[in-house]
Symmetry: C3
Subunit: 273 residues, 3 copies
């Protein structure tokens, strides 16, 4: 069942909430895509802040609407800051996103994910297919931060992990899967060009965190779908305007900034399974 | 009083000095906008260097023409390096810029600003309005690194802080304010597009540091005005050429690189109060 | 002697190997150009991964095809991780690239280069002319990370350093020099625009590391030449399409992505001395 026009309007309403409420999205993230993560949040109309010092993460969470954790270039110090911030976010009942970037690449990444998950309630667990498969306990090797092939039903995988962890699970890839305990969404928006540059996956987590930050009913599955549909429609628009992956990224930011309700209604391609 | 054509020529002369002398601008900065800060310095024609190891900051300051400190993603280690570098810069009598990025967001940021200010002579203190208001002692909450509304006369604020700290104060925003003990400049150049991407504020501090690095008379208020006018005229040119905030940044760099005396004379819009 | 069409085909074959084998290129690098380094590897068709925690670098090297070390924003911690990773790469017999970024700027950089070189076998030593001159023992001051003039025969310098260290030496600049024990190549491709933005030198090291990762005969001089010729032909194409250094970089990435055998045959301008 394709999400109908009414739901397209709900997606656009969420985009409008981001633009009007301008949530402060606190990140503790990696050093590779930190700029793009901040920039995509800003261009969606919200306020990003990147802060990782143990001495201040509590205070930054105190003024934030959501927290995005990304372990892309993790160290033990950074993980410690993430746990401090995550606990405080839990106390404040603001959403926490964890991008398990590179899970399945090294035992250290797997262990640190477990450590975060056992110390904080993660509201949205996000990764590519092999990262999420690894978190779900499969014996799989992620190729650095790039997904390897997963021989499993990804919808089933995300659904059971969502149930087990009582959270929303987001798997990004050719198509995206968003599951919570009761529903699974498939998002067919997006473009192959996204896989040819660094950072589109990390930005997806930041977008998800931005939309979670304006979710009044704490339906983080639908807020994630809203953010991802907007972001990936922008990617489709950008892919039509660019001459390659270099010019693609600039057009992606332009398209995010200029995204309209009409574009969402015309191009939205998500479904509930 | 609009700065007249003679002063436009002074601004262009400062730009030419940057391009010819190619000052080495040593940064200890944040991990979000570190590339853009380096790149804007390079594209203005100067040499950026980013180095933060305690073991080498003294030696790097020894060959630098100016030092730019930005606390955007501060840690106690980074602040320690900043103070070592700042003291050495003071000994060498080269200008030190401090971008108080996020002051007013957390007590840690406020404390670390105080620590730097009490250990080093800062020649140019730069921030957005709520950051500078916080440094001036107002009870105000900065929204991460984005300014919140300040109920105060900003010119008065910058002026009194300049007098108190015996330095140049730069407040960036819709219009920029540059004060030293005796003068206050208002810069009406720039474009709203600058506020829609991450990094334009940090880059402004790097530009100010670059122009301070070629100031022979240590008139850091006027060198700051020179740099900001050039940078913001480039932003106006870029805003006319772009389709959104993504393409804006690339055109901004192009416009900085191609900036001519004629453009400065035609577009310069600064005034002395 | 210009490398003939047969060798152009060898270069294209190496590009095809990168695109088909998609080597995992593990970087421990600086925080300024880390995104661009990852992105250029990705856009060449390979898989970059940036990981520096002592706890995981061994495991990341275990799944990598090559290792790229860049000391641009070095600390003692990072150097320690580089040495752990370098030793493991040596054990696995995968190529190690060292970009001696900023060698000759501070004694700390020189010392840390020596430390790496005395603890690991470096297969490809890469820098600009004053960085490499410094590593070769000349008394020269690098201007931060920008080269200063070197009064020496650079081909001779690279050759003797290659012999002394039993490695491939790459000097980038107006033209590039690639030497191993038996041969010296001069690459006349590239464009002045590359020197006007930050990061093209660091990306060159990442490209060299990417092509080394698919070298079946461990001829790292020729794999380096292959990568640099491709990268710099792309730069020439981009320079023709851009309006300045800002738009240049996006076109550079596009041109890398779209690079064809015909373009390599038509534009390749390398020679063996």
């Amino acid at each position: 069942m394709k999400i109908n026009e009414k739901l397209s309007n709900e997606i656009y309403k969420n985009l409008e909430k981001v633009r009007n409420q301008k949530p402060l999205v606190h990140h503790i993230t990696n050093w590779v895509t930190i700029y793009d993560c901040a920039n995509v949040v800003k261009i969606f109309g919200a306020s990003p802040v990147m802060a990782h010092a143990k001495e201040e993460v509590n205070d930054m969470v105190n003024i934030a609407s959501s927290l995005v954790l990304n372990i892309g270039t993790l160290t033990t110090d950074i993980i410690e800051s993430m746990i401090i911030a995550g606990k405080r976010a839990n106390e404040r009942n603001i959403p926490v996103v964890l991008d398990v970037c590179g899970a399945g690449a090294t035992p250290f990444r797997d262990d640190m994910c477990k450590k975060i998950l056992s110390n904080c309630k993660i509201d949205i667990l996000k990764g590519n297919s092999s990262e999420i498969a690894r978190i779900a306990g499969m014996n799989i090797q992620t190729k650095g931060v790039d997904s390897s092939e997963v021989n499993a039903d990804l919808s089933q995988l995300s659904k059971s992990l969502a149930v087990k962890n009582d959270c929303t699970v987001v798997i990004t890839g050719k198509y995206d899967i968003v599951s919570d305990k009761s529903r699974t969404f498939i998002i067919n928006n997006g473009h192959e060009m996204m896989s040819r540059i660094v950072g589109t996956g990390c930005m997806a987590a930041s977008v998800v965190g931005t939309f979670a930050g304006v979710s009044s009913d704490k339906d983080y599955a639908f807020s994630s779908v809203s953010g991802l549909v907007c972001y990936e429609i922008a990617a489709e628009i950008a892919a039509n305007l660019c001459q390659g992956p270099g010019t693609f990224k600039e057009h992606l930011f332009d398209a995010v900034s200029n995204l309209s309700n009409d574009q969402i209604i015309e191009m939205q391609n998500a479904e509930v399974k």
